[in-house]
């Protein structure tokens, strides 16, 4: 069985350079590749284009890269909850491309699936469709959207095996599986790295074929952005 294991984030990120385009999994702070992000901060790689549904918060997630001004452009669907982001966007330091969330997810999938372009109804008649081809199918209008072309994808899984097979947990799955499909080099960091044969092949969310490098992550914070609870009664 093909072995994809690397020692740590440092080894996983070999080949990462300034001005590259990355995909980073996660929704809010849920399911983000914490170790990869820390290592990117460490590396200080600059002028990055980051495709990620959100942009983290001031002191966590992609917010850490924003703080060090390593990101040139964010491609996201929602980028609130981040003062530094706001400052850089308003000052023009940061380029931001906002994409409907479903279109973002489907474009990631298309990238990995060899689909160069597809039609979606999202954004028709809005400024999102400006400059894009639109077309009618069965009486409804659609917008033509294209695949991305990222150098690296960085995803976070719950469990993974040495061959790169991944299982996600709860809603930490979100964008991770499609982004795993889409990277020229896909790096998976996992909470628990196991031997091949320990995961049920019928329950694997991301087959190892999509993953080039996998490592056991460390020190997961897994921050909660909005703690909402029902009081004990």
């Amino acid at each position: 069985m093909i072995n994809k294991v690397v020692k740590n984030a440092k080894e996983a990120l070999q080949g990462v350079e300034d001005s590259m385009t990355f995909m980073l999994g996660g929704f809010g702070l849920c399911g983000i590749p914490e170790n990869c992000i820390s290592e990117l901060v460490e590396l200080g790689t600059k002028d990055l284009t980051c495709i990620s549904n959100n942009a983290g918060v001031d002191d966590f997630g992609l917010g850490l890269l924003l703080k060090k001004r390593q990101i040139k452009k964010m491609i996201s669907s929602y980028v609130g909850e981040n003062d530094e982001f706001e400052r850089q966007m308003l000052s023009g330091e940061l380029d931001v491309e906002l994409i409907p969330q479903g279109t973002l997810a489907e474009r990631c999938r298309a990238t990995g699936a060899g689909i160069p372009a597809f039609y979606t109804p999202a954004g028709y008649g809005t400024e999102v469709a400006e400059g894009k081809e639109t077309r009618e199918f069965n009486g409804k209008m659609y917008v033509l959207e294209h695949a991305f072309n990222p150098e690296f994808a960085m995803v976070k899984a719950w469990k993974g095996d040495t061959s790169g097979n991944l299982i996600f947990k709860g809603t930490a799955r979100n964008f991770n599986p499609m982004m795993a499909m889409a990277g020229k080099i896909t790096i998976a960091e996992v909470e628990e790295l196991v031997e091949v044969g320990e995961l049920d092949p019928n329950q694997i969310h991301t087959p190892g074929i999509f993953v080039q490098r996998i490592f056991q992550g460390t020190n997961y914070e897994k921050r909660i952005e909005q703690k909402t609870v029902t009081p004990k009664s």
């Binding site: 929704f27 809010g28 702070l29 849920c30 399911g31 549904n53 996201s76 669907s77 929602y78 980028v79 609130g80 706001e86 966007m89 308003l90 931001v96 906002l98 409907p100 969330q101 479903g102 279109t103 973002l104 997810a105 489907e106 990631c108 999938r109 979606t120 109804p121 999202a122 954004g123 028709y124 008649g125 809005t126 400024e127 999102v128 719950w158 996600f168 947990k169 709860g170 809603t171 930490a172 799955r173 979100n174 964008f175 991770n176 599986p177 499609m178 969310h205 897994k222 921050r223 909660i224 952005e225 909005q226 703690k227 909402t228 609870v229 029902t230 009081p231 004990k232």
Partner: protein, 219 residues
């Protein structure tokens, strides 16, 4: 004047039908889950990858790996399921979700909706709203009838950048239930104690008033 946010949610909950899958946006729409009629089954979809969304967890049981689209910690009910964002929006785009409830800054009488961007102000993004409004067969907007300056949000045409076109079918505000058809707002119900004249005054778009307009009923 008129309904509280809770009551707007309560009134919208009356629109729920048995066996519907429902996506609730952030804000007032989220409250709708608290008022599901006892005799019907509905399931809530959260576009970050969750069907069968349950109430907030008991204090101490919150899980960072189980959140809703508002990034709040939630629970999952028996019979629920978890999936990725592509499949989640396949559900939405493919019209498998029977009802979408979301907030808005403006709604126009042709069904246009604006709820994501105010020029000159900080833009946080549309999230899943554009996919939801472009896809749902059944969209209810939950919002206040007027803005803080007292100006109508029920308009002839939207002035803000659009989220979607010709898509809203129904609006429930603190003052009224409105149906959108024939390029106009049809007044269906009044909030208790609110007069037709008050609703007229708060509505900039074409308002059609046919016959006696009943008051909303709450149990």
């Amino acid at each position: 004047m008129g309904l509280s946010k809770q009551q707007i949610a309560q009134r919208i909950a009356q629109e729920l039908q048995h066996n519907w899958y429902v996506n609730l946006g952030i804000g007032i729409p989220t409250l709708v889950a608290n008022y599901v009629p006892k005799n019907i089954d509905v399931e809530f979809q959260s576009e970050n990858g969750l069907l069968g969304m349950g109430p907030f967890p008991i204090e101490g049981e919150e899980d960072a790996d189980l959140i809703n689209a508002g990034k709040q910690t939630v629970t999952i009910l028996k019979g629920g399921s978890l999936f990725d964002s592509a499949l989640s929006f396949a559900m939405i785009r493919g019209q498998h979700v029977q009802l979408t409830v979301l907030g808005a800054m403006e709604v126009a009488q042709n069904g246009d909706i604006a709820n994501w961007k105010i020029p000159g102000k900080l833009v946080k993004g549309m999230g899943g709203a554009m996919d939801l409004v472009a896809s749902a067969e059944n969209i209810i907007v939950a919002m206040m009838h007027t803005n803080k300056a007292g100006e109508s949000k029920i308009l002839k045409s939207c002035s803000l950048p659009l989220t979607g076109v010709n898509c809203v079918k129904k609006v429930v505000t603190n003052l009224a239930v409105l149906e959108i058809k024939n390029n106009a707002f049809y007044l269906i119900e009044r909030a208790p104690g609110v007069s037709v004249e008050e609703i007229k005054a708060a509505t900039e778009g074409d308002l059609i008033i046919e016959g006696e307009i009943p008051e909303m009923k709450f149990e």
